[in-house]
Amino acid sequence: MFIEQLVNGLTLGSTYALIALGYTMVYGIIQLINFAHGEIYMFGAFAGLLLVSVFGLNIFVALIGAMVFCMFLGMLIERIAYRPIRGKSSRLSALISAIGVSIFLSTLMALIRGTNTTRYPEIMKIHTYHLGSLDLSSLQIIILVVSALLMVGLQLLIQKTRIGKAMRACSQDLEAASLMGINANRVISYTFAIGSALAAAGGVMVGVYYNAVWPYMGTMAGLKAFAAAVLGGIGSIPGAMIGGLTLGVLEILGVAYLSSSYKDAIAFGILILVLILRPQGIMGKKITKKV
């Protein structure tokens, strides 16, 4: 029972982690909470649905397609809604712009598709494996494996490639980085692209797992993933991964042992506790500013 709930929690948590990564990466580089990120996740879920149901593509191909689509969506949003005001107005303006984009995108999708929930078509035969008392569905295994692969890939990208190094340099000192010949706008654009692609992967997998997509699915998922990013330490990439998994597990255990009506209260209760007790999050560093 406990192990099974743990696996359910990790499955949910890995999708939170995928979304949380986008929040944390964007925050790390331009200190913006991209409130439109949940909607990118929602668009990813719909893009996947479209590719599977209309074009009849294999789910993995659709997953990659949705990721590519959202890469461009993320870069477009940054280009249109954030870059023009960056450096020229306060951070608050960018935040409000993000909320605007968020409302625009969810409403746009509601206009296109209506507000009803759409189901993913049956994409594959789902096996359930019985390992002792543990029931594990093939879908859960796929979600866990794909998430793990994406996160390892991201770590390699950040640690090993020159784009990753440029991203780390920019997140530490954007101005100094541009004085070293790094085109900061381009690096920011790539950051949005990568974060959005990960969110899209999360969206497609959640859509398939819960067999439901709807225009406002990004709101709650986005807030939960944001809570996960804060829990892990906003700005920290390993933090977002750990925060996402922790939040998913706690939420499922709470549902299993307390009541399902506490589902959302648990996530946000944790957010409040973290903000009170350890504002820097699990992996975040406490910064003492010299005055």
């Binding site: 020159r162 340099a169 101005e175 541009s178 004085l179 010949g181």
Partner: protein, 254 residues
Amino acid sequence: MGILTLEGVSQEFGGLLALDDVSLDVENEKIFGIIGPNGAGKTTLFNIITGIYTPTSGKVKYQGHQINGVPPYDVARMGIGRTFQNIRLFNKLSVLDNVKVGCHGVTKAGILSALFGLPGERLEEKEITLRSCKLLEMVDLYEKRMEYADNLSYGEQRKLEIARALALKPALLLLDEPAAGMNASEKVSLMTFIKEIRNNENLTILLVEHDMNVVMNICEQIAVLDYGRKIADGPPEQVKNDEKVIQSYLGVEA
């Protein structure tokens, strides 16, 4: 005309005139000093040359091209490297990666080849590592290349900043108070080092410095700023004896 010329550059910040009609002509492969009391506009001048500020009026020309209005990363790619008054290294990157980031700005490989590690990119990456290691050897930091920049001593961090700036293969190097916080013997070795890199890399060096000993020893030409205005410009001997400079900056000697 020199490698860098400023023609009547003024910079206003909300009514405050930080630089007032400053003109400079920095000759190729010279060590050029800028001195002046705190708040005279020295760092503002650096920020204008490197593209952080676009001057309110006037022209900045580098190798004959007008560069005011050019974004900082392009200015850097054109060959202007700099260090900072308050050290601004990438603290959570290794010493080696700090220098490599400087190299990456000026290399060709695009996002696709970097993502997939195409052969051209790998070859280039090898060259960059090699060059970065050479630069680190030059500043005696090769042994510490895998440490976080954060863990270096103050003097070492200053040297790493210079190595990172040299990674751009600059023709013009801007040093913002390179001797700040150094002791006497460190200053002596710094002076030798600055002369060496000028000679070996055919660099032009523009430096802001408060330590008169350092400035008078290594600079071949000096400009003096006071309240945003240039009050003197010439070889050290001439500046040292300039009436106005003595009054406003060097102090009246008995």
